[in-house]
């Protein structure tokens, strides 16, 4: 795990920090004020809670940022553990900010810390799976670089 923090991982961490902080602020605001979007077409009328759209935007932005910086990192040095590092860093930042949010009572009354427990279990499982995949590949790598890629 030499050179764990690369400049791209650092940029990704800052992006995740900003996105997560924005997600918590907007999420609590939308839930507290029950803000919805109304779609009113001739044959179709629907009310969509803005929090649902925020969740989708947050998820896709996090994935997009991960792919963007991860690809750049891989181009610089094709390390096998890059995906695991990005997943772990985003997991930690999200949960530290969220925990701080609940401890400081900045959450809306419709948000429960229970949801954070579920997300930590589900997301944490994906981090563990990522680590397992990384650990299993140790016979194919030298210092985290795939043996086949080292002298290509």
């Amino acid at each position: 795990m030499k050179n764990f923090i690369t400049k791209y991982l650092l940029s990704f961490s800052i992006t995740v920090f900003i996105l997560t902080l924005g997600f918590r602020i907007l999420g609590s605001y939308f839930l507290s004020n029950d803000i919805n979007i109304e779609i009113d077409e001739n044959y179709f009328k629907e009310t969509i809670p803005l929090i649902a759209i925020l969740n989708i935007v947050y998820f896709t932005s996090m994935m997009g940022a991960g792919f963007f910086f991860g690809k750049k990192d891989h181009k610089t040095l094709p390390l096998i553990g890059i995906g695991f590092r990005y997943n772990l860093v985003s997991f930690l930042i999200f949960h530290i900010i969220s925990l701080f949010w609940f401890i400081s009572n900045l959450n809306s009354s419709f948000e429960s810390i229970e949801e954070l427990k579920y997300s930590s279990i589900i997301w944490g499982t994906s981090v563990l799976i990522h680590f397992y995949v990384f650990y299993k590949s140790k016979n194919k790598i030298i210092n985290e670089i795939n043996k086949e890629d080292l002298f290509d």
Binding site: K75, L77, P78, L79, N143, D149, L150, F151, D152
Partner: protein
Amino acid sequence: MEELLNSWEETYKKGQLTLWIFLSLKDGSKYVDEIKSFIEKNSEGTISCEEQSLYRSLRKFHHVSIVKFDLKDGNKGPSRKYYSLTSLGETLLKSFIKRNINLFFKSSMKNLIQ
């Protein structure tokens, strides 16, 4: 005939870059431009390489500690990375040559090649 030769050479050259990088560094520490020139000159133009692929290879070799670099002042510009082989890199090159290159210098093989 030319088409067959080109096709064979294309595949053959793909695995040659590492050896040429190592040989250029065995010759002395160099920055990327010098490594590129060394390879092109000594391979008589048969091996050409992009600076980007040299940087990529050197970063990998540095990560696994077979290549090291020193920062030295460049000509009027920013400082340059001068790459050289570590003792592990030198041993690796020596072992590779012993196992894979020296075969061609046996008299029986020399006759076949000539």
